[in-house]
């Protein structure tokens, strides 16, 4: 599989998280997957400004020439995208959310009906959209309800991205278990 790991860890110092992801990448590569990790804090992009140029002016791409283009390209050419983030104030990091907002050029502004609800129309072939998965780190103050809330929101986001959230895992599990879960997809 082609796998993109989006690393939403905002801090350099919290090396445990980055170390976990680099160990995971090695294990996945050993299992014959092609893996690219994008460390979002090192990429250059501003917050989505809500201008909708990516829908009505430069269809399919952010009008700002920033690294969100690189992230969009990696995501739409993957089989699996791992959204990896420490839990901060009960949710994915702002760094991760910034780049998730900038994935909207991958869908179309038109609304369609999917499972009885309005959702954005696909821009790419529905089969082109990668599976999503969540890899989270519980930080002090994070409880199971937080993990449930994040997973529930993410399932919605993946539905809007014409795909689904394959699993939600925590980094207190050995990398072998995450690798196994991916091998089973």
């Amino acid at each position: 599989m082609n796998i993109t790991i989006l690393n939403g860890n905002p801090e350099d110092k919290k090396s445990g998280f980055d170390k976990y992801l680099s160990d995971l990448q090695l294990k996945l590569e050993k299992a014959n997957h092609t893996v690219e990790t994008l460390t979002l804090r090192n990429l250059d992009a501003g917050y989505c400004t809500g201008c909708w140029s990516c829908w009505v002016k430069t269809p399919g791409e952010c009008i700002f020439d920033d690294d969100s283009h690189r992230v969009c390209r990696a995501v739409i050419n993957s089989d699996l995208v791992l959204f990896a983030s420490p839990v901060i104030m009960g949710y994915l990091s702002a760094e991760m959310k910034k780049f998730m907002d900038k994935l909207i050029p991958l869908v179309h502004p038109y609304l369609i009906v999917d499972k009885g609800e309005a959702h954005h129309r696909h821009r790419y072939k529905p089969s082109n959209y990668p599976l999503g998965a969540l890899l989270l780190e519980k930080t002090p103050g994070t409880d199971n309800e937080d993990i449930e809330i994040i997973a529930a929101i993410h399932a919605r986001t993946m539905l809007n991205m014409k795909t689904k959230n394959a699993f939600t895992m925590l980094i207190d599990q050995p990398v072998e278990e995450v690798t196994h879960a991916i091998n089973c997809l």
């Binding site: 917050y47 989505c48 009505v56 910034k98």
Partner: protein, 221 residues
């Protein structure tokens, strides 16, 4: 009564959130005149100072548009800046407004659950969340078409001033349609296919001479 309103729209004063928050504020002010501070989180400068007004307020109202089924990234940055208040006693009463372009309110219920938990995380009384879908065109419509929505928002603001919280039953009515009944799905499907529902986007695409490119797929290799 010190009321701090956080506008979490990336479009700031030019967005639909602004219009909707202004109606809630108007309703609030019809009951009691607050010492009002409005902060635009789209401004990097205001965002960095935003957390210091949190503790100084008696009530905060945070409003934002739904972005990928949750809060916009810049709102998450603001929420992270509230971390020092976690575990402190007697934090400020918190009210929320979430609006989206989807016709149904249901899409915003998932982040509503997050917001309720956020208030608990901050030991803050939870005043409730106004949820409303179908809001993409609010700022462009004549006021007559928004009357019912605006009346509901004003009433919610008045309830907030009177009771310190929204009235959950009234919020349910304001949120309608919550979801479409499965039996109606085919009707709904048809409705979205008629040209008028796409005309808003098509108008913008044509104005920008981008209509022919509307199905572009620039990133697929």
């Amino acid at each position: 009564m010190r009321l701090t309103v956080y506008n979490g729209s990336p479009r700031g004063k030019a967005g639909n959130t602004e219009v909707m928050l202004s109606k809630v504020i108007a309703g609030f002010s019809s009951i009691t005149d607050p010492d009002l501070k409005i902060i635009y989180l789209s401004s990097a400068k205001q965002r960095q100072e935003a957390c210091k007004y949190f503790a100084q307020s008696d009530l905060v109202l945070l409003g934002f548009p739904l972005y990928t089924d949750a809060m916009p990234g810049l709102v998450k940055e603001f929420i992270e800046s509230l971390a020092p208040y976690v575990g402190q006693d007697d934090n400020t009463n918190m009210a929320f407004l979430v609006q989206s372009g989807f016709p149904e309110a249901h899409h915003s219920r998932f982040v509503e659950r997050y917001l309720k938990k956020l208030a608990r995380r901050l030991n803050a009384p939870y005043a409730g969340t106004i949820v409303k879908g179908g809001c993409e065109g609010v700022r462009l419509m004549p006021d007559s078409m928004n009357r019912k929505l605006f009346d509901g928002l004003r009433e919610a603001g008045a309830d907030l001033a009177k009771d310190g919280k929204f009235n959950p039953e009234k919020l349910k009515i304001l949120a309608k349609p919550e979801r479409y009944h499965p039996i109606l799905a085919p009707v709904f499907k048809l409705l979205l296919k008629i040209p008028v529902t796409q005309s808003y986007w098509n108008g913008l695409l044509k104005k920008n001479e981008a209509y022919e490119k509307r199905f572009a797929t620039p990133f697929r290799e």
